[in-house]
Each structure stands twice: as structure tokens, then as C-alpha cells.
Amino acid sequence: MDKVTTTIDHSVLVNARKASRKKNLVSFLNKIKKNKAAVAGGIIILLYILMFLIGPIIAPYDPFDVQLDQKLQGPSLDHLMGTDDKGRDILSRILYGSRLSLGVGISAVLFGGTIGTILGLISGYYGKWVDSIISRILDIMLAFPGILLALAIVSALGPSLINVTIAVGFFSIPMFARIVRGSTMEVKKLEYIDAVKTLGANDMTILIKHIFPNILSPIIVQASMRLATAILSAAGLSFLGLGAQPPSPEWGAMLSNGRDFLFTAPYMALFPGIMISILVLGFNLFGDGLRDALDPRMKN
């Protein structure tokens, strides 16, 4: 008799939890709407995604079409952003390049975020020696300054955009793992998780179905911040000639190429730089806004 009642109680608790989660999501979205920085960042990101989707369609020229007689022309009505040293239309290259620059950033964060989240979940949920081992590994990864870990990986795998994606993703693993580990340890303590356990759920189900949805918000905030860093790092590696190779219209690579013409055609370095900066600004604004909306300490 006793057992039956507790079971009922627990499933009620679980359902109530699910309902409150939905309510939380709605109020979370409302909070974001009120945050000007998050809205501004969101709009910027949406515009870039639009460019990602339709950029190549609306591009006026073939981004790889070499027209040496048209080279190094300043911005004009024919070429809104001018042409580069091989006479290619910079605007078209920028539009095509959006797929590369944004794509690398997103793939890297997806890669690093997934592995980091899994490590963080395991580390936070199981604790004890599992946690110690994972935490030590993360400490080691964090001991490498800035993009040097990514650089070391590229040095081994060889220069290419895919390797840059792997390398940048790899070096965002510890940031995700840390955040997820902390949140998991908090959620794990909730009475609701005990209830699910008594209902007979196994660890896998608990982690995926019950803990993960509850720690999504910090992961999203982290993802937004990491996207900014990942795009900067990937562009940086391409700028160094370790990522996208010519004639790729990746923005970092275009910037690197433009640097050689700083005296004669400064706009070649200008436009790719502006595109990277605004994109990164968008993710930073969005991440800032999200964090403020989530962090009750910052509430006004």
C-alpha cells in the first residue's frame, strides 16, 4: 500500500516538473525579449544565418572567377566592395564565405559542445573518481594558453579548414564540461531526480531525459559565448594560413590576403574584418543578454 502511494506521488512530481520546465522556457523567452542586448545580438545572428542560406544565390558574381584586367578596383556600383588582387568580386566572396566562417564556428562549437556536455554530465553525475579523472584532464586542457592547443592540433593534422574545425572544437571542450558539470551537480541534488530513480529509471534515462533538459540554459549561454571565440579563433588560424587555403573565400583567409595590399587596396582587408567583427559582436551581445536574463543576481 505504502509503495503504491509513493509511486503515485513521484509520478506527480515528475509531471509537475515537466510542466514547470515548459513554463520556465516561456518565461525565459520573455526575459530575453525584454533584454535589448539579447534582441540586438539575435537580430545580427539571424541576418548572418540569412546570408548563410541565400548568400550564394544573391551573389552577383562567381567568387572564384579570376579577371586579371579587373583587379584591385575600389568599391563601385559594379563591385560594391571592390575586387581583389585577382579581379574577383569581394562582395560575392564575402557572401559565399559566410558559409565557411559561420559554418566552421557552428560545427566547432557543436563538436566541442557535445563532447564537453557528455563529459560534464558524466563527471557531475557520477562524481568520485570518475569526476577526479575527468576534471584533471580538463585542467590539463585549460593549461594551454588561448588558441595554442588548437594550434598544436593543426600542426599535427596539417593545415585545412576541417582540421581547424576539429582543433577549435577540441579547445572549447573544457569550457562546456566545466559549466555542465557544475549544473549537473546542482540538478542531481533535486528531490525530483530521487523520485525518478525510485520509479526505476536507469542512469542513461536520467541523464538524457531528466538532467540534460534542466541544464540547457547555461549550455545555450555558453554556446553563444563560445561561438564568438570559435569564429575568432578559426578566422585567426585561417589568417595564419593554417586553415582555409587559397582561393577559399573564408573571411580570415581573405583578410590575410588583403593584408599584403594594405598600401594599395586597404578595402580588401576592411570588409572581411567588418564581417567577422559584427558576427562576433552579435554572439557576444546575445550571450551577454542571455546570461543577464538567466542570472537572478543581475535582475533589476
Binding site: P145, L151, A152, I153, G158, G273, S277
Partner: protein, 306 residues
């Protein structure tokens, strides 16, 4: 306190070992046969075999690693594949330049960041504050290599005030140091501002006002000292980004430091040089973090009991 330092020292031993392991593994991560790839296309079988022997690649992994550590302890980081110079000598030739650059950059990060953060916090939401915070937001969003190019275009190409590249005089240091320090300054400014705003709402600031103290004394003596504590950690972490950033900034301004050495070595697949460079930069970072932690502890011990 001594106990804390000893504990912290003990903690960095596994981290240091881990770092050497990762750096060691760089060579093993090369897809395929490292010896063939490193010898380059068209190398003869003898060359490949010789290289394999020199790098110790035919020994078991565990032996290779213990050899690597043994050599490291004797200051032997291997030899460059290009000119057969000892890696250690290559690094000691380049390191002082990077340290000098990093020193001026962190100075810019701290001074610029603190001043901007304090000015912002004195009158929050004022014209000045909003302006500074927009600049700071740009500061964390602009790629350092692009900022470097912009500054170079403005001050070297257009105004001819500063040299384009190189590392010969004090004038050469300005642009790279500003480029490298700007991002950190932006982060420190944001942190200082939010920390100050939190502190000025504390009870002890009200006490200071109730005593009749002058406004600037309240800010500089009572608020800032407390607000700086969390900023210390941020500055420590900034050192990491800064050391990594030397790779980009040294390339932009053609500064012959450790960062540029690593990049050039990656292009030519001179893996021992890459390993040495990454190892040294990481160990510097590990020890700076240790120092910052101790510093934080010294400043923060007073809050332990609250």
C-alpha cells in the same frame, strides 16, 4: 598560507606532466607515418629511416615518452628538422621578445582596463559609461589580427607615425602591444565596472559615506580595493589569451618572437619546434596561474570568514 602554497605547488605537478604528455602526443597525432610525412615528399627511404631513428619513433610509446621527459629535464627539447639547431636555443633566442611584448600588453590591459572600468562605474549609465562600454564590447569582438591591421593602416600607412613592422625600437613595440592588450583591456574594464557597481552597494560604503569622507576617497580607498579582488582572477586568465594571441599579433607585425616561431614551424611542419614552443608557453601560463592564485588568496583571505 604556506600550506596553501605547498598544496597549490603539488597540484601543478600532474598538470605540468599532462601538458608534456599532450605536447609529446602531437608527434603521434600526425596521420599515417610521421617519419614519412615529416621527411617530406620524395624523400629517400634512408632519409625516412634516419629520421625515424633520430626521433625515436621506432621505440614503444611509453619508452618514447620517458625519454622525452628525461631529455626535457636536461634542457634537451630535440632538434629542428629544418636546420638541426637545438630547439632549446631557438626558443631562448625568441622568448625574450615575446616576454617583452607580453609585459607591455598586460600593462596596457591592466591600466587601460582599470581606468575605463572605474570611470564607467563612477557614473553608471552616464554618457561616458555607455560610450566606454560600447568600446569595450567592440574590444572583445574585433579580431586582434584585424585590429592590428587597422592600427597599422592608420598609424603607419596613413599617418606615418609608427613603423609598419619589426622590433628594433620602442616605437616598434607600441602597435603590437596595443593590439595584443586591447581585448584584455576590454574584458578587464567590463569586469572592473560590474565589480565596482556591486561593491558600491555594500554596507561598508554606506559607512564610509556616513563618516563624511570625500567622494574620491570612498571610490579609491574603500571601493576599489575590494572591487579589485575578482579582477585579479580575470587578469590571470587574460594572460592565457594574451600568450596565445602573440601567435597572431607577432605574425601581423612581423615580430620575431615565440608565437611567430610556432606559426612558421607549423607551416614547414617542423614539429619539434612546435612542441617546444607550445610547451614553454603553456608552462609559463601554468606558473602565472599559480602566482595569480596565491595573489588572489592573499587579498581574499579576509573574506573567508564572512
Amino acid at each position: 598560507m604556506t600550506l596553501f602554497i605547498l598544496k597549490r605547488l603539488a597540484q601543478i605537478i600532474p598538470v605540468t606532466l599532462g601538458v608534456t604528455l599532450v605536447v609529446f602526443l602531437i608527434m603521434q597525432m600526425i596521420p599515417g607515418d610521421p617519419a614519412i610525412i615529416l621527411a617530406g615528399e620524395g624523400a629517400s627511404q634512408e632519409t625516412v629511416a634516419e629520421l625515424r631513428e633520430n626521433l625515436g619513433l621506432n621505440k614503444p610509446l611509453a619508452v618514447q615518452y620517458t625519454d622525452y621527459i628525461k631529455n626535457l629535464l636536461q634542457g634537451d627539447m630535440g632538434h629542428s628538422l629544418k636546420n638541426n639547431q637545438p630547439v632549446f636555443e631557438e626558443i631562448t633566442a625568441r622568448l625574450p621578445i615575446t616576454i617583452e611584448l607580453a609585459f607591455y600588453s598586460i600593462l596596457i590591459t591592466i591600466v587601460l582596463g582599470l581606468v575605463a572600468g572605474i570611470i564607467s562605474a563612477i557614473r553608471p549609465y552616464s554618457f561616458m559609461d555607455v560610450g566606454l562600454m560600447i568600446v569595450a564590447l567592440l574590444g572583445i569582438s574585433l579580431p586582434s589580427f584585424w585590429l592590428g591591421i587597422l592600427l597599422m593602416y592608420l598609424f603607419s600607412v596613413q599617418l606615418h607615425w609608427l613603423p609598419v613592422a619589426g622590433w628594433d625600437s620602442a616605437k616598434h613595440i607600441i602597435l603590437p602591444a596595443v593590439t595584443l592588450g586591447a581585448g584584455g583591456a576590454a574584458i578587464v574594464a567590463r569586469m572592473t565596472r560590474s565589480s565596482m557597481l556591486e561593491v558600491v552597494n555594500q554596507d561598508y560604503i554606506r559607512t564610509a559615506k556616513a563618516k563624511g569622507l570625500k567622494g574620491y576617497i570612498i571610490i579609491l580607498k574603500h571601493a576599489l580595493r575590494n572591487a579589485l579582488i575578482p579582477v585579479i582572477t580575470v587578469v590571470g586568465l587574460q594572460f592565457g589569451s594574451l600568450l596565445g594571441g602573440t601567435v597572431l599579433v607577432e605574425s601581423v607585425f612581423a615580430v620575431n618572437g615565440l608565437g611567430r616561431m610556432i606559426v612558421d614551424a607549423i607551416r614547414t611542419r617542423d614539429i619539434p619546434i612546435v612542441q617546444g614552443g607550445v610547451l614553454v608557453a603553456s608552462l609559463i601560463f601554468v606558473f602565472i596561474n599559480l602566482f595569480v592564485d596565491i595573489l588572489y588568496r592573499i587579498f581574499n583571505k579576509r573574506m573567508d570568514l564572512n
